[in-house]
Symmetry: C2
Subunit: 231 residues, 2 copies
Amino acid sequence: MSVANYRNQLLLGLSKADRRLLAPSLEPVELELRRSIEKPNTPITHVYFPESGIISVVATAAQQQIEVGLIGREGMSGTAVLLGDHRSPSDVYVQLAGTANRISTKHLTQALEASKTLRERLQRYAYVFMVQIAQTAFANGTAKIDARLARWLLMAHDRQDDDELFLTHEFIAVMLGARRPGVTDALNKLEGKGLITAERGVIRIVRRKGLIALAGGAYGVAEAEYARLLE
Amino acid sequence: MSVANYRNQLLLGLSKADRRLLAPSLEPVELELRRSIEKPNTPITHVYFPESGIISVVATAAQQQIEVGLIGREGMSGTAVLLGDHRSPSDVYVQLAGTANRISTKHLTQALEASKTLRERLQRYAYVFMVQIAQTAFANGTAKIDARLARWLLMAHDRQDDDELFLTHEFIAVMLGARRPGVTDALNKLEGKGLITAERGVIRIVRRKGLIALAGGAYGVAEAEYARLLE
DNA sequence: CGGTTTAGGTCCGATACCGCACACTCAGTG
DNA sequence: CACTGAGTGTGCGGTATCGGACCTAAACCG
């Protein structure tokens, strides 16, 4: 794959030199639905830069699961590696199929050693991801299901080109830490307001502005930080 | 202040050389209750290494406030600076009075440039703090108020020497994003189980194990990461 | 084409938590 | 020593969400 063809914004934002540094180690891979990217407390072997699709970072404990962050073509998995660790307590897997370029933890670590500018840029992303997680904590603590759903749909929508998201209520329920029927209700509510349309397995975003309003303060902060630091 | 006198574990864990690098720039300060450490979207002037007391990182939006992370003598404020930013979208202030050593953002940045080992160690802390925030997201999304309260009390207790926490229900309510009477109820529930005792303005931790059990999976993950990476 | 799987909708009672309001009580202050 | 204010306890109706179950409908498969 030629350098110019990357669609991952983090890779695209690198200097030519930094991109050349990573390019030989990058390996294109398919992101199949549900594919595991990181297992809790297990060494991270590769770090993924999605070209399309979405990767979820999910906290798991006592049979409970809930998404704490999500990664698309704007970012990368494995931020732990950027900060000197080689594992994480979270489960990380593909939530929306797509493609990615991945690099082995070893090669990435070497590249980070070799280039200060690379390190700085990727660490800025790590910071933005931290803000995203903080926003998730905020949303989970203060917002109702429909607002959290709106936030989630917006974040997913930001990470792909068209307006159709291929997801089931079941999966969304896990993401939000809610019951599946609760998600069904919330989706119907959003559809009733004309913000989305939904069919079996497909959700179509219709009015982003309405979704943003409904999400309240839970959406936008991390996105603004990203724009400020990485664009 | 002599090097040996630090009580902040992050400073204590540094190599002698790194401690010498920071020491001349460290300035002892009082952490008065409610003192502001960082304002949202305003340059971070100083980074604080608490010796005692607790600093809260609070996400604010649309008149809603909720704590996403908390910092005591095990850590430092201003993780954004470690990752190349100089502000953060969160409100950061003193939640439990104490003392700290602080360093200007400029001096810290210079020291991070000068010492790779310093940078690596502090960035590992930043990673642990990120895990803590993720746990908050988990707790907020899945746990009931009494479990979240138990988690919060445990985390505060970890960060001081004795068993008495001087807090009002009102402040805890803000931390948890709950109503004040909800906190009163939850505290009474914990007291009924013999896990704590409470008087006006004081909460005394009695049975940590019981609190940990009640907190479910919401407590312990970030603490384990800290032990693994920084002890 | 008929059977099976998977996704979605709906209904039930229970409950945790909310918003709001008000009463009590302890601790300091004039 | 009464007064005041902050901290705490309590009550009440309303509602979001839960846990569990069940039923329909679309898609898939031999």
